[in-house]
Amino acid sequence: MSGAGTGHAGNHDEVRLLANCVIGFGFSRRGFQLGLEREPHLIGCDSGSTDFGPAFLGGGRDPKSKLSSERDLGIMLVGAKTVEAPLVIGSCGGAGGAPHLEGFRTMVAELAGHAGMRLKVALVHADLDPALVHRALDEGRVTSLGPVPDLTHEAIDGSTAIVGMLGAGALIDALDTGADVVLAGRCADPAIYACEALRRGMPAASSWHAAKSIDKGYLATTEPAKGSPVLGTVRADHFTVEPMLPGVRCTTESVARVTMHENPDPFAIVQPSGAIAAGDARYEQLDDRTVRVTGSRFEPADRPSIKIEGARLVGYRAIMIAGMRDPRLLAELDGFLHDFRQLLERVVASLGIRPEQWSMRFRPYGHNAVLGDLEPQADQPPREVGLVVDVVGDTEDIAVAVAGRAGATGSRLDFTGKLGGGGNFAYPFSPNVFRGGAVYEWSVWHILDVEDERDPFRIELVEV
């Protein structure tokens, strides 16, 4: 009953790929049902991103709630089984590490149980053994991805988790097992879709560019708020993209823009096995809601490479939130914050906490908190400021102790001699100190050269 590898669709002149965007952020159930009627060869959905920051890889957490993910996953599992198409989920659990994949395996098992389904699940593990990365570093096979420091053995050892971004190769192997569901660790978004087109013999050019054009689901449409899913149809010399929900349209512009989205170079989107070259692609409006794309290219890499990501623990966060409205204070806010910091440092020292055990950032929302020293209008006095005192300590106790003294210290700081017993801070919350948990930063953000793009990844088959 497996959808993959059985050639049930018969007609291989085209490969139909049904694409949602991100698990846990929702999609149209009606649009999905209409998509199923088109008998897709593969149903796909991304589940992760590094956009949420390093804390989710580092801490093994999912940025989306289980409740949201279950809704989306449940609909797709049942739908995929109904039309016997494999379901491929990329970057499971947000960061695609070992705990994330395990979380999704459990969720799929529970959902399959509720629906009375037996499923063959292929897990594609993307977490990397640090020893493999150490060895690659010694062999000169690791380079920085953009303006980040060279990788060091210390950075590898200091990482709580390292993942590799898998490409189409590992997913093709997973589909070849006949799995109903492929749960992938950290994964390049286009690979989720390109794998099935490539597996069915479509050329790399139309397969990869089609995959890239649909991998953001709704973004390929004119109505992003209700657009997912979209259907990509890959043929030998072109592909088409269309939305599934009636009343939603794909236009030449809406489709062309997806290829540019969040890519540093719009003309070369790098994948483990090569680059999607969309610079010469032609977009034409086939009907009022479908776009046809020709002239795509795929430039195979001389040697495959894998993006690797790692996160390391920096400390533990506590924040204090307060509002400020006094125009006299706001007129000299920078001076006030300077005095506040000095006074708080003395207070913290009196608690026996050493300077190297904590750090603090003032985030005065309303006064350059977003752009910082890049703010072009920095000299305009704000009317009201929301101050976030952001403390990172070696332990949570230290962070909470510092943030806990910030309120009283700053609120009573007499900045003009006119305070007279009042306070500087308006508190919207009780308590006004919040624990932010573990804080991480990217420790590995590099490119790993490999013999075969499948090498670092391991496939595990389970029945649920």
Binding site: T50, D51, F52, G53, P54, L145, G146, P147, V148, T252, E253, A256, R257, M260, H261, E262, N263, P264, D265, P266, F267, Y283, V314, G315, R317, S359, R361, R363, A369, V370, L371, G372, D373, L374, E375, P376, D390, V392, V439, Y440, E441, W442, W445
Partner: protein, 108 residues
């Protein structure tokens, strides 16, 4: 003089991974797009000045098909660590709004 905010259909920023911020500067018609391109107002030194990065690290792409000038700059804090103020990079376009472009008419 026309501001970029008046000349564009969309002006947005986003992170492109942890290493880069990328700007999509979209014009409402081909004439405005071409005029802004010819003006060379959007050049590496401008981005170096506004965003505190080296001009040599600024890449500019003309995407004729979608009337978009795309600019990619390195992130100053690629670590995503405690100093980050905008993980997605989606509010970093703001300094571009008031950039003045000489000799280009505001589109109707």
């Amino acid at each position: 003089m026309a501001r970029l905010a008046d000349l564009t259909q969309a002006l947005k920023s986003a992170n492109a991974g942890a290493s880069w911020i990328t700007f999509d500067i979209v014009f409402p018609d081909l004439a405005t797009y071409d005029a802004v391109r010819r003006s060379r107002a959007l050049n590496p030194s401008l981005f170096a000045r506004l965003y505190g990065v080296e001009a040599t690290g600024v890449s500019i792409y003309d995407c004729d098909q979608v009337r978009t000038i795309k600019v990619t700059i390195p992130r100053r804090t690629a670590s995503g660590g405690p100093d980050e103020t905008d993980f997605d990079g989606v509010q970093q376009f703001a300094p571009l709004l008031d950039v003045e472009v000489a000799g280009v008419e505001i589109p109707p």
